[in-house]
Amino acid sequence: MAIIVLYTVYSALPFAWVGTLSLRSTSEISAAHFAWPEVWHWEKFRVAWVDSHFASYFWNSTLVVSAAVAIVTLLGAAAAHGLARYDFPGNRLIYFILFSSIVFPPQILLISLFQVLVGYNLYNSLIGLTLVYVSLQLPLTVYLLEGFFARIPQDLFDAAKIDRYSELAIFFRIVLPVGMPAIATTVILNFIQLWNEFLFAVVLISDDESSTLPVGIRHFMGDYFQDIGMLATGMMIAVLPVVIVYAFFSERLIQGMTAGAVK
């Protein structure tokens, strides 16, 4: 029992502590690092949003992540459908090649992606980062969706053929609606992973104006290392969307995370 309490302290207290820091001013924090907020400085969120660049980081993140998730979901679903439903030579080979890139260490892509994006004038651009994010999440998306799509009963497709649905209509009017639970799971999983992505963002974006939240926080930390209170507020801004998504879709999210690992 004591161990459970201790572990909970270890696991939950640090984040709760940042929560209190985000509501206290830096001078209050320097006076006492571990105190309950006496005055709740909610205005710090407005200050972080308006006076520093957190609003622009936030919108950059939102833009890149939502575009990337939308594209990767559509491309991934199409590919998963193709792999799950059509029997053609090389089917398993393509699946294996896509899937194996999940284990690639990122450095093998990092340097040459930098060169490629510079070559196409997409370095420092949100479009470039979006494309890279699509390619990063594609294998996982195809892997999760293929497993689900393969279990859709063939009868549905036979019935659709009798009703003279075209191949595209089958995809949009049968596969996507029936596969919605799995698609929702991948959307949530991809959203959280990309929202938190740091390595590629820091290499492929150097302008402060185009930075996503993780990189922006890092910039802010470089410039105002001492301003612990404001940094904590910025961290909370970065974390809140993920926590909200988790609050509403925790079951789906956990399903997605466990789908790959439970056998």
């Binding site: 029992m1 459970i4 909970t8 696991s11 939950a12 207290l13 640090p14 984040f15 690092h33 571990f34 491309l75 991934g76 199409a78 590919a79 459908h81 193709g82 393509i94 090649i97 896509l98 890139s101 284990v103 690639f104 260490p105 450095q107 093998i108 892509l109 990092l110 340097i111 040459s112 992606l113 930098f114 060169q115 490629v116 070559g119 699509v134 390619s135 995809f171 959280i192 929202w195 938190n196 992505e197 740091f198 390595l199 290499v203 993780p214 926080i217 890092r218 961290m235 970065a238 974390v239 993920v242 988790y246 925790s250 956990i254 995370m257 466990t258 790959g260 690992a261 439970v262 056998k263």
Partner: protein, 284 residues
């Protein structure tokens, strides 16, 4: 064809960059347009580079120790929840939340926690009268790697927990009840019934964690930037530094490191696959 767009993205942004990195590793690329062919020079240099070996050693320690800790902690936490301790719903959320935080947030937070003057670790030690044990956790070369590893465990234990919990719930309850009837102690039940039945999941988690640790970058980059004295340098941070931070202006050499590490990771994954398949065959 439904596959075409995905394959196009894959070819352009995954397959081509991998091949290009392999190609680059045979060249010295001082600026974007001028590359000089140097054959295997970079590879010879990599194996003579003491910093690479330090980074490889740290990454190896991390990849071998941490997955065990992750999986064991995750399994124990899952067992607590499975045994329906009070407040299980609250505890599950409290234990899982760190998984959701980005490495940047986690890194900054733990830099504060380890702060020498006011970090909670040292403050707590001093309050307990153990002030002599207070340490500069992240600037002591002997402690830094362990401190960063502990932070990584903090983030990932919750993930292992939910996976173990899902696996526990899918176990046939008859077996556990039978063990109960046989008056099996909880420890014996854990070792002889639960662990063997969860073995495929646990092994999977171990391999996933192992691959993850081989790639560790973000946390080190934020918390220590590989310091002090390369005590926490990992292969990923070293490649990043050589490519983008050092004034060596050569993208070829870091590419060579990346290729070496790529081969190492793929070799390990293949090795695990082989080992696991053999065991699986033995079992059935």
């Amino acid at each position: 064809m439904f596959l075409a767009p995905a394959l196009l993205v894959y070819a352009g942004l995954t397959a081509y960059p991998v091949l290009r990195t392999i190609h680059d590793s045979f060249f010295t690329i001082a600026d974007m347009d001028a590359a000089t062919f140097v054959g295997f020079d970079h590879f010879q240099e990599v194996f003579r580079d003491p910093t690479f070996w330090a980074a490889a050693r740290n990454t190896a320690i991390w990849s071998l120790l941490a997955p065990l800790l992750d999986v064991v902690t995750g399994l124990l936490l899952a067992l607590c929840l499975y045994a329906r301790v009070p407040y299980a719903r609250f505890l599950r959320v409290a234990w899982f939340t760190p998984v959701l935080l980005s490495y940047v947030v986690v890194g900054i937070l733990w830099v504060w926690i380890y702060d020498y003057d006011w970090g909670i670790v040292n403050v707590a030690l001093r309050a307990l009268g153990l002030g002599a044990w207070a340490q500069a956790w992240l600037s002591d070369p002997r402690l830094a790697l362990g401190a960063v590893m502990l932070t990584h465990l903090w983030k990932w234990a919750g993930f292992n927990m939910v996976v173990c919990l899902a696996a526990l719930h899918s176990l046939p309850s008859e077996v556990l009840e039978a063990a109960e009837l046989d008056n099996c102690g909880w420890f014996a039940k854990l070792v002889y019934v639960i662990v063997p039945m969860l073995r495929p999941t646990l092994v999977n988690l171990f391999v996933l964690a192992f691959i993850g640790k081989m790639k560790v970058f973000d946390l080190v980059f934020i918390m220590t930037d590989g310091g002090p004295l390369w005590a926490t340098e990992t292969v990923s941070t070293y490649v990043y530094k050589r490519a983008f931070n050092w004034n060596t202006f050569d993208l070829g050499y870091p590419s060579a490191i990346a290729v070496v590490w790529f081969v190492v990771v793929v070799a390990f994954v293949l090795l695990f696959n082989r080992l696991l398949q053999q065991k699986e065959r033995l079992e059935y």
